[in-house]
Symmetry: C5
Subunit: 301 residues, 5 copies
């Protein structure tokens, strides 16, 4: 995730970090070159292209803009819902820390439960980003991290472990029925956060959308120079490039936001959020908290 | 459901799996042929078509794009809400497994309840897809599956059975009031998931929308060549085909998403989600869990 | 509500059931005739209409399309929210049946409570559709239906009766505090469903919207032939009719969806949903359930 | 709030009650006159205006339509959320009446609590509409209404009084812990309704929106006749008036809906909703309920 | 936040407070001057610019309008969600005051808890606006404010302190399990409000959006005069300025709303909301409440 002050006018055009330009530059240049060839061929062969006007493109362009706007909207909603889920995780972790303070008398038991919740955050991050987090989770739950990693679904296993711990406490009458219910509600919400993330991770936007939109955008940009050449002449490549930049830029951005758990420039800063959870837990335990993660050139991983 | 990496530029045009092209190809070719005939007739008869311009189509095209965009939005919302409901089912099943660990002392009772919850997933899938799931549900609840299948509403019957089991436990003082309440809340949410799925399954988008949009799109594409012929000449069939592709492509996609519980390429992967539930339950019981479902050529059923 | 398979291409143009065409046909024909008269007058008097172009209509047409799209969206949201409320009613009725199984020992008391919940469904339907449901509700609560019907707000009276029954059970210690709370929560949600339906029924979209949009649409269609005649000539009536069809078709549809509790073709199938509730209750009681309602020519009332 | 059957075609143009036309008529006529002057000046001075075309207006018009559509959307959302909050108030009042039936044995205490809830509705209405409601609230809580009115925040004071009453009941062991919790939850939701209404009342749409949109609309309508005159000639004033009607009509409507608690034609019928609450409470107490409020010429205050 | 009556027609153009004009004036004037230079150069060199028409700009303009409308929508949603979170804080603070009245017998303990909740409001405001609030929070919790300020996350520390206080009360049997649960739920929601605000504060809209939109808008406005000059002549600078005003005005507004916790004219009035909380708490304690904050020239800080 990029957090930076608004760039000035000149800087605006040279910022590459976080921009989708590097990824779509081949498209932009490709369509510009293609348009230049079209103009050149028409110029040399003196073909009469006046039968091809830009009017039908207006029709298609509006439809394409509306549909790309829709896809963009849906992709952004996924990104923002993912961020909301992690925000919910933050306060559920905090709630767990606070509620257990009043409910669990044994500090060691409470600490163990909260360490498992931190390991949950890291295992969830690992599951979503497909990275190995055993080492990081091991800082909190030690050797148990290897056992958790062997489960088919690591984060789920951790919620179960927390649940077993709470059940054990109740069996020993260390917490009463209401106390068990409070902890169970927290764990239920944490499980909901996990399932929500799995849903976003596992269910991309319908593949047919991507196909339909990209195909239409390609055909549109391939035909556009033919429609523009008679009226726009040598500025045809410029306009074609601009239209390609707008359409494929939004397309690339939508694709990045659609999968919010990756490690690209516009993806969510899961590392930083995990650290926020750690700070809250360690402060709640009265232990020394690690410092917040610092960005690297405006970028939070 | 299709999950696959982004196809390359060339592949983009040859991907058929998950695309709506095969379904709407007759429309596209039909309108192209029809447009070619119009152009031919005009060419041969030397009719003066300059009275027919493309301007009025802009007016209609914008309105049509906005309304199709709306319908598409509504269809996608249904699809995504259906996915959310199944995601909710996943974590409610997990919550049931975790909560009963602390609440129900008798392992056999707990296991029976959880097996009924898995049978519920399959019966719900069966109800939504109109397929027979007695065999699959029988793996979890044995012969009882036949009795459940005889109820007018199978999944509802299973929630009642789980409810009766919980009531029995309470009568025997095996769980206390708060414990009963926790299980009852889980069952209430599972019933809400079922009713939500039934709502989406049983209430299509208002039929008049489909009629209004498809009729307007047909008439639009039928008149378009007449409006295009004077300015676009022999490229008329190409543009007509492109417009037909855009409109009927989105129309076909909306129709597919509108009914998210089918077995088409862009429908939800209910089989895979049922398996996710099975994995969580068997891992929670400490039994061997089945492996996740693998896609078949990028497709999850 | 209409539930039917997608009609074929030819059938598409002849389906009348569920279509808004019959209702707006006078408008379409009227505007076509009016446009024909304009063309005729211009043709006869040889007026020079070239000063009137279609360009300003584009401006207005986009604005009108966006605003009609908005109204349509709002109307659809009302329709879908109404359906969600009734879906919620379905599972709350089921939850009541399941929860009372564990909570109320006396089968007669439980049955009486559930019969009142079915009567509630019918009285709510009666209130929303302004029809007399005493006979139908009487099947469940007998003569009491007349007493309920005398209250200013029948469904509200039934929720109160269920509440009094639960209070009585608690006073007799037939249910404990948690049990009372579970039933009270169900009744609270049922009351929320009723208030939600009353809100949709009693608060139409702001009247000024309808006025603003319909007036603009009328003036637009009245001026359109004047703007079209110089460029479109004798095809003017065709385009005017098509634009009128699109605008007034969406307008009529929005009006139908805005009031989702009526008995028109695209309104909600309240009868069928009441039957779904009956099936769940009777199956839960172990009694013979009535069959689901069958559609009449694709139509569920 | 206006509730009336759809007016016929002719009536449509003469309905003034609920329409925004009276308010924006000066704008419409002003711009029409201004356009007529422009046309006259151009006609007399024979200025060549062909350099000014309508094309750039299309660009601006689309942007303006989209942004006005957005503002309209936001204003409608506020209006509908406000209505939802009052709908929630209705069922929370009903829930309070029902739940207290089972919880509070002393009829006088219960009646006093419910009367305070009715006074709450009126004080909230008074706070939102800035009207004096001491007399009306006094019908339910007598002289106490004056004391409540002296608090800085009257409705908040009433929720506190209800809370103190519940706390008193609990101290006297007249209700148990669960009973206290049920009443407290009701009061918490009532407080949420109040805070929601205060939010809508106290936080208008960002002022900069109104400025940006109205300024653009003014400049647009001021320049439009200059762009239209060469192509539309003497019909310029008509089009200018129509565009002004569409833009300023939606603007006026958005402004009215933005503040849903006023007493204008399209504002919410708070008086009628308060009466709905009174009916439910008095029916629940077994006392004679007042009749529903009747509209005055389709208008509910 | 600006709250003021609608300005009159003339005033409309001279209101600067709350307007985004001062901020974007350099852009508007810059593009106007640039357009004038283009026109001048074309005029002097008699370049034939008829090859450059405005048609391609329509295509781009629609796409740009839709995407800017989307960004604006997302920014407004953030602003409104932030306002909702603070509205939720208001009623949770009130709920805490009311619920503790019945739950905590010791007035000093209750007062201390409520003072901590007020300090929470101020510390949250301080965290979001990056201002020092130790002095203001000190009015409620005295010297403790310094200790809180030393925590890495001040508001979180305050919720923990409130939680510890509730846990202490429970240990001393001053509140029972249900009472603890009620207070814990309030604190959980307050923690959710904090995490929601941190989410909005810490996660700006994806940086690539701003880049994509601003770049496209810049290029659009740079090319626009070239496209307009042949048809619009000397009115080119006027139109360019108007288009720049519309695009960059919305852009600036979106940027302001995107960060709703700042102290600019259209940001949220956190000071005023904190005061609303103080009034409710002090009235609930029966102490003298401070007066509501008065606006300064229509502006609430």
């Amino acid at each position: 995730m990029i957090v930076r002050p608004k760039p000035g006018v000149l800087a605006l055009f040279f910022v590459m970090r976080g921009s989708v330009v590097p990824r779509i530059l081949p498209h932009i240049l490709g369509f510009a070159a293609y348009a230049a060839i079209i103009v050149g061929v028409v110029h040399i062969t003196r073909l009469d292209m006046s039968g091809f006007s830009i009017a039908p493109f207006g029709l298609l362009g509006v439809a394409l803009s509306i549909y790309m706007g829709f896809r963009n909207n849906a992709a952004y909603d996924r990104w923002w819902e993912a961020r909301k889920l992690w925000g919910q995780l933050v306060y559920e972790i905090r709630n767990l820390a606070r509620a257990t303070n009043g409910l669990i008398e044994d500090p060691a038991e409470r600490r163990a439960l909260l360490m498992e919740s931190l390991a949950f955050c890291h295992f969830l991050r690992g599951q979503l980003r497909k990275v190995d987090v055993v080492a990081e989770a091991g800082k909190f739950i030690g050797e148990e991290a290897h056992a958790v990693a062997r489960a088919l679904n690591g984060p789920d296993e951790l919620v179960r472990r927390m649940g077993r711990r709470a059940a054990e406490l109740r069996r020993n009458a260390a917490i009463d029925a209401i106390g068990y219910r409070i902890i169970d509600e927290r764990l239920a919400t944490i499980a909901a956060v996990q399932a929500g993330c799995e849903r976003i991770k596992g269910t991309p936007l319908p593949f047919a959308y991507t196909l339909l939109l990209q195909r239409t955008a390609y055909i549109f940009c391939l035909l556009l120079p033919i429609g523009l050449v008679s009226s726009a002449g040598w500025s045809t490549p410029l306009f074609t490039a601009l239209v390609a930049y707008t359409f494929f830029g939004l397309d690339a951005l939508s694709e990045e936001l659609e999968e919010p758990f990756g490690m690209e420039a516009n993806d969510l800063a899961l590392d930083a959020i995990c650290r926020v959870c750690e700070i809250s837990i360690f402060e709640a335990l009265g232990e020394k908290a690690p410092p917040p993660l610092a960005p690297e050139r405006y970028f939070y991983s």
